[in-house]
Each structure stands twice: as structure tokens, then as C-alpha cells.
């Protein structure tokens, strides 16, 4: 006990900052496509049209931002929780360079139109081989470090990390099986309904094992760390973990309600989606009761509100999701703008909130300094919170409006009340409002980036001062 561990922080710093960069770029692209929706003249063919920039926005934020920060924060947590330096730190640095090259290549090739045609699985096949290589490196480093650990018991965050390592590998490989045609073109190995079922098994569990399990790992580590409060119930976190990773894999078909897929597949998918409320809310309760031990932390420890709001949106997300799966609700909201409203509550509210708070904790820790400005962090918090709420609420209202307009049948003679164009015309004010919400969110993210950069700068200065002495 008490002996100093020579932690390896270089890969942590590298991935944290890379993720921040790709995050800023790709949120900005999100703003661009939100404007293109209500100002189609801004589509500049062939490379800068909506259908191409959208992929860079989505892939850039999933792989470039979320996965980079997952790498950064799990390399931090794994060292702290095993009480030993990262195994193969040089490999992690190689991984960092390949990662950034891969994201840059992904952005360029997507704009060039090299698209596999499956959502969240668009990258051309050579890049997907690269993703697998990067993931194997991650697996080797994480599993290796855990095996060589100095702390006997694995903490909750490590369970979530291991589950992430395994599940992402299985999901990614199966849904990217291709028949290559050329270096840039390939066709899915599966056809029609099977391809659809495999795609949504993959995509919904990308939500599970990229947007949920690793983020819960961060939540369970950094909430207690930043508040000094122990996790409320260890038993609840055990139940939550196993039931979550068991149930999630059953639910993909709720994306295909009313599709030509067999009814039983849809119904089982919907039923398991409803069951998901319990494991999800296990973590919500755990979070609330943890902070409930001392509510003054909300005021005094500036990161508490990030984590608590994050888990609140996670709770709302995991309640809204199952409701959307119900056939009655699904027939109204499916295919409408309700869906991006739902998705962005999860990504802007839960994922980004929790990741940013964890970064606020980690950067001062690895640079051995204090955060540059708590005030700016508070400004960041309110901007992203209000921005996300405007975005989501606007889209929910619009989604219901579209769903109802599409379904409306005139009682007079049983004909359709509205043409599709009428629903488009009615959407414009909402689409403009969403851009405004996104702008607030992006501003908040810029404040965050500035705060982080200034924290690092001040750390470098004091390091120089120490050396000079």
C-alpha cells in the first residue's frame, strides 16, 4: 500500500484530446446537415450533400468521439482499478495513431460516397478490417492489464469494460461480413429480411455496448470519485449488470415493428424491450441514491450535476425507448422526427454529459493540476442542457405531428387528409428550432474544449515553473 505506481497517461491524454477534436468537428457537421434540411440550396454536390455529410456526423461521433473517449477513460480507469500501469503502453500509442488515421480516412471516404448502405456500419470494408485490428489492440491492453492486476477484486467498471470488449467484437464482425467487389465496394453477405434483422441486432446493441455499458462503467467510477460518496448498492449494480447484458441482445427487432419480419420476432423484441426498463433503472436508482446520501454535493462538487443529469436522461431514454417499441406508439412515431429526438436525448443528454464530466475529472488528474475554471464548466453544463432539451422536445412534438398527419383519414369520404408535401411544409419551423438548439449545444461544447485546453496549458506552465526552480 502507498507505493507510487508509474501510471501510463500518454495514451489517456492522446485519446481524450483526439476524441475532443473529432467531437467538435462532427457536432459542427450535425449543425450543417440540420440547416441543409430547411435550406436545400446548401447541398453542394457531389461531396457535400446531406446524404454524405450525415454519415460523417454519425460515424464521426460514434467512432471518432465516443469510442476515442471510451479508450481514453477506460485506459485511465483500468490502471487505477488494477493499481498497476497499463500493459503494452507502446501498443496503445500505436493504436492512437492508427485510430486517428482511420477516422480521417473514414471521413474522406464517406464524403466520396464509399458507403456500405447499412446504418452505423457504413465504412468500406478495408476500414472495417482496420476497426477490428484497433479493437483487438484495445482488448489485448484491457484484458492483459486486468489479468496482471494488483487488486484482487474487479470493480463494476471493469465488468462493463470486459462486456464491451466481447460484445462489440461479436456485433461488429457479424454485421460487417461482406462480399468484396473492389477495394472500395462490397455487398452485404446477407439479403433482405435477414440483413435487416442482423443490422438492427447490431445497431441496437451498438447502443448497448458503445453508448451504454462503457458509459455506465464511467458513471460507476467517476460519480463516486468526484463526490467522495460510495455507490449506494453493490447488489443493485450486480443485478443491473447481468440483467442488462442478458436482455439487450433480444431487443433489436423493435426497430422493425410492422416490417415483413415474422411476428414472433417482433413481439419477442418488444417484450424484452419492456423488460429492459428494470436493469436500466437499477443504475438510475443507484445513481440517485448515491448522491442522495449528501445532496449538498450537487452544489459543492461541480461534476455531480453532470452525472446526475446524465443518468436522468439515461432513465428517460430507457423509458421512452420501450414505449416507442409498443405497436400502438410505434405506428405513430416510427419513421418520424420523433426518432432523432429520442436518439439525441441519449447522445447529447446521457452520453456526452457523462463523458465530458469524466474528462473534467481525468484531465486535471493526469496533468496533475486543477481544472482551469469551474465557472466555465457550469456555463458549459447549462448550454448543453438547454440545447439538448430544445432539440429533443422540438423533435418529439414534430414527430407526433408528422405521424398524425400521415395517418389522418378524412371522415367525409375516407381519403387521406394530407399529402406528404403538406407534412414537409409543416415541419420547417421545427427543423429551424432544432438548429437553434444544436447551436447552443455546440457553443457549450466549445466552452468545454476551451476549458480543457486551458487546463492543460496551465498545467504545462506550472510544470515548467517546477523544472525551472
Amino acid at each position: 500500500m502507498g507505493e507510487a505506481v508509474a501510471y501510463e497517461w500518454k495514451p489517456v491524454k492522446g485519446f481524450a484530446l483526439s476524441g475532443l477534436f473529432w467531437g467538435l468537428v462532427c457536432v459542427l457537421l450535425g449543425l450543417v446537415i440540420s440547416v441543409q434540411l430547411w435550406k436545400p440550396e446548401l447541398n453542394i454536390p457531389p461531396y457535400l450533400t446531406y446524404g454524405r455529410i450525415r454519415n460523417v456526423h454519425v460515424n464521426g461521433l460514434v467512432f471518432g468521439f465516443a469510442v476515442a473517449e471510451i479508450f481514453a477513460l477506460s485506459y485511465y480507469m483500468v490502471q487505477k482499478l488494477t493499481r498497476r500501469p497499463l500493459l503494452f503502453p507502446k501498443l496503445a500509442m500505436v493504436q492512437l495513431y492508427i485510430f486517428n488515421a482511420a477516422i480521417a480516412a473514414a471521413a474522406v471516404t464517406l464524403l466520396m460516397g464509399f458507403n456500405r448502405g447499412k446504418e452505423f456500419a457504413e465504412l468500406m470494408w478495408p476500414l472495417n478490417v482496420g476497426v477490428v485490428v484497433l479493437w483487438v489492440m484495445y482488448a489485448v491492453i484491457i484484458v492483459g492489464t486486468i489479468i496482471k492486476r494488483k487488486e484482487q477484486q474487479m470493480y463494476i467498471s471493469l465488468w462493463y469494460m470486459l462486456a464491451t470488449v466481447v460484445a462489440v467484437a461479436i456485433l461488429f464482425i457479424v454485421n460487417h461480413l461482406d462480399i468484396p467487389v473492389s477495394l472500395t465496394k462490397s455487398y452485404s453477405l446477407f439479403a433482405g429480411g435477414n440483413d435487416a434483422n442482423i443490422e438492427w441486432w447490431y445497431a441496437h446493441n451498438a447502443v448497448a455496448f458503445v453508448f451504454t455499458t462503457p458509459i455506465l462503467g464511467m458513471f460507476y467510477y467517476f460519480l463516486p470519485k468526484s463526490t467522495g460518496l460510495p455507490v449506494y448498492s453493490h447488489r443493485l449494480s450486480i443485478i443491473g449488470f447481468w440483467s442488462l447484458i442478458f436482455t439487450y441482445l433480444w431487443t433489436g427487432a423493435h426497430h422493425l415493428v410492422y416490417s415483413p419480419l415474422p411476428d414472433w420476432v417482433q413481439t419477442v423484441g418488444i417484450a424484452f424491450t419492456l423488460m429492459m426498463i428494470a436493469p436500466s433503472w437499477a443504475s438510475v436508482f443507484n445513481g440517485y441514491y448515491t448522491v442522495g446520501a449528501d445532496w449538498s454535493k450537487m452544489k459543492n462538487a461541480y461534476l455531480t450535476k453532470f452525472f446526475l443529469l446524465g443518468i436522468t436522461f439515461y432513465g428517460l431514454q430507457t423509458l421512452q425507448g420501450p414505449l416507442q417499441g409498443l405497436r400502438m406508439v410505434n405506428q405513430i412515431v416510427h419513421f418520424t422526427d420523433w426518432v432523432p429526438g429520442h436518439v439525441h436525448m441519449g447522445t447529447m443528454g446521457w452520453l456526452a454529459m457523462t463523458i465530458c464530466a469524466s474528462i473534467y475529472y481525468v484531465i486535471p488528474s493526469v496533468y496533475d493540476t486543477e481544472v482551469y475554471s469551474v465557472k466555465l464548466a457550469n456555463v458549459h453544463f447549462w448550454l448543453v442542457l438547454v440545447g439538448q432539451l430544445i432539440f429533443s422536445i422540438t423533435m418529439w412534438i414534430l414527430g407526433i405531428q408528422q405521424g398524425v398527419m400521415w395517418k389522418a383519414i378524412s371522415p367525409e369520404d375516407g381519403s387521406l387528409t394530407y399529402t406528404f408535401m403538406e407534412s414537409v411544409l409543416a415541419s420547417y419551423p421545427y427543423w429551424q428550432m432544432r438548429t437553434f438548439g444544436g447551436l447552443l449545444f455546440f457553443t457549450g461544447l466549445c466552452v468545454f474544449a476551451y476549458n480543457i485546453v486551458m487546463t492543460i496549458k496551465s498545467a504545462n506552465k506550472s510544470a515548467v515553473a517546477v523544472e525551472g526552480r
Binding site: 447541398n43 457531389p46 450533400t49 477484486q153 470488449v165 473492389s182 439479403a191 410492422y258 399529402t419
Partner: protein, 304 residues
């Protein structure tokens, strides 16, 4: 002796837990014939259609257009017969989509003429005022990659002829994508329509100024796209002259009604005149009263 201090054993258990749902919901259905039943009239894509499908994917069309019609009343009225599993047996990847910023395209094939599609791709807002679809006329500057398409046909095991590939060399991506769109959803014949009115019915709203006003609104929003804002013709014919279906002389109200309600097919006979085809059907959208209003509006232009 607990699982949380044995990382390898823990990881194996996690893997097994994950594979249970995966097996039941993903692997098992893959072997069930319900997932991909054989269907008559569903054929592999031709080389040109495949090139068009590639262009459709390349430009991310599937982010805004779904290709899956749900078995819901309003939806089948708007888009046609609901989608069947067997219709997608040659779709690698599937392109059902998850969002409708634009309308569903599962049965767009044959709904509009090629000419209409070229015009629409060039400038969507000319046909639909206020549309937010980006223009895709620029695709005419990009020739189809015949060599890659041939490789694709081989990879997918689709039959093709040498002539078909040679013919690709003069085709652009715009030609290809329109050929692809025209193939969508055509495996299932359109169900016969119940006529909305009896033969010989007269327009109950004839001359009603309110109906003229209502009809103009509907016309401007939906019909002006092809017949021009002033109804003097564009993709579709002039409606203000005394020619109907390209032959001089008047037609009856009930004929005009059924052309609007059910659309036209090539060489379909109306009062002894042959249609050229290309008029889409509007009956599901408008209902009787709105169609009669449009008829009233068109008649009001005629008499000017």
C-alpha cells in the same frame, strides 16, 4: 472464490450470456423460411438497376427515404400494398431505412414516368414547391462504372449478358438510379381499384365558386408539378385547351374524374382515345369531394 476476481472466467460467462439472445433472435430466425420466402416475379436486378442501386447507396438516399410499407391503412393508401418478405430476397444490403424525411419508395416503380423523374431530380422544387430534397441532376455528369457493375453482378450471382454491360457505357448514374427506382415494388401487381363513381355521374359541384377555389388550392399543391402552375402543360398535357388525351374535343366529367382518381396506363382507352400513360392515381389522397373540386377548377380554366 467469486467470479469478480477471475477475469477470464468472468469474460467467458459474459460471452455466453450475450450469445443466448443473439442465438434466439438473430441466428435462429436466419434459418427460418419465413425470413425469405420465394416469390414469383421477384427477379435479380439488371446491371443498370444494380448500378442505380449503388448510386442510391452512394448518395445516402436511404437516410431520408424508406422502402418498407407497413400494413397500416393510411400507409397502404398512401404508398400501395404493404411490403412482403420475399420482395427483398435480392437486396444486399436491405434498404428499408429508418426515417422518412421524404416519402416511402417501396412502390415508386411505375408511379411516375421517366421524364417526370429526370425533371424532379434536376430541380425538385420545380415540381413540389417547398420540397427540401437536394437536386441530383448533377448525377448526369457521372458515367456508370461498367466494369465495377459487372464485378458486382458476378459477386452477387445475378445473371447478365455482355450486351447489357456494354449498354452501360453510355449510361449516367442518373439514368441508372431512375431505372432502379422504376423497378421498385413492381413484383406485386397493383390490386384492381373499385371505381369511386358510377359511369355517367355528373359533377355535383359544377360551377360552384367555392369548389373552384378549393380545387385551385389542391391543383397548385399537387398537380401544378406536372401540368404547370397555369395548367398550360409541362410534363403532363395542357388542361386549358380543347384537347383531351391529345385529341381535340371535350370529354365527360366522369372520365376526367376517373383519370384523376385512378391515373392512366399506356394505351388505356378513354372515350375512344388512347392514353400515353404517366398520370399517377390520386383517389386515395383526395377522395370524391376534392377530385370533383379539381374537376370544377379545370372546367373553369377551360371556359376562359
Amino acid at each position: 472464490m467469486n467470479i469478480y476476481s477471475k477475469p477470464i472466467f468472468f469474460t467467458i460467462v459474459v460471452t455466453v450470456v450475450i450469445l443466448i439472445g443473439t442465438t434466439v433472435m438473430m441466428v435462429f430466425p436466419a434459418f427460418s423460411p419465413e425470413m425469405a420466402p420465394k416469390m414469383a416475379n421477384v427477379h435479380p436486378y439488371t446491371a443498370l438497376q444494380l448500378a442505380g442501386r449503388d448510386a442510391y447507396i452512394e448518395n445516402g438516399c436511404y437516410y431520408c427515404h424508406s422502402q418498407m410499407i407497413r400494413p397500416l391503412k393510411a400507409e397502404t393508401m398512401r404508398y400501395g400494398e404493404y411490403s412482403k418478405a420475399g420482395e427483398f430476397n435480392y437486396d444486399q444490403p436491405f434498404l428499408w431505412g429508418s426515417k422518412r424525411k421524404g416519402p416511402d419508395l417501396a412502390r415508386i416503380g411505375g408511379k411516375y414516368s421517366d421524364k417526370w423523374h429526370y425533371k424532379h431530380m434536376n430541380d425538385p422544387r420545380k415540381l413540389f414547391q417547398g420540397s427540401n430534397m437536394p437536386a441530383f441532376g448533377w448525377m448526369a455528369d457521372y458515367p456508370v462504372d461498367a466494369e465495377q457493375t459487372e464485378k458486382g453482378m458476378k459477386a452477387l450471382g445475378f445473371p447478365y449478358t455482355k450486351e447489357e454491360i456494354d449498354a452501360l457505357k453510355d449510361k449516367t448514374k442518373l439514368d441508372a438510379i431512375i431505372a432502379y427506382l422504376q423497378s421498385l415494388g413492381t413484383a406485386i401487381p397493383k390490386p384492381p381499384k373499385q371505381p369511386m363513381i358510377a359511369a355517367g355521374d355528373k359533377n355535383p359541384l359544377a360551377g360552384d365558386p367555392k369548389a373552384i377555389e378549393e380545387g385551385k388550392k389542391i391543383f397548385d399543391m399537387n398537380c401544378a408539378a406536372c401540368h404547370g402552375v397555369d395548367a398550360k402543360g409541362d410534363v403532363g398535357p395542357d388542361l386549358t385547351d380543347n384537347e383531351w388525351l391529345y385529341v381535340a374535343g371535350p370529354i365527360h366529367d366522369d372520365t376526367l374524374f376517373s383519370i384523376i382518381a385512378d391515373g392512366t396506363k399506356k394505351d388505356q382507352q378513354f372515350e375512344g382515345r388512347a392514353a400515353k400513360g404517366g398520370m399517377p392515381s390520386w383517389g386515395e389522397f383526395f377522395g370524391k369531394k376534392k377530385i370533383w373540386s379539381v374537376v370544377t377548377y379545370i372546367r373553369s380554366l377551360e371556359s376562359k
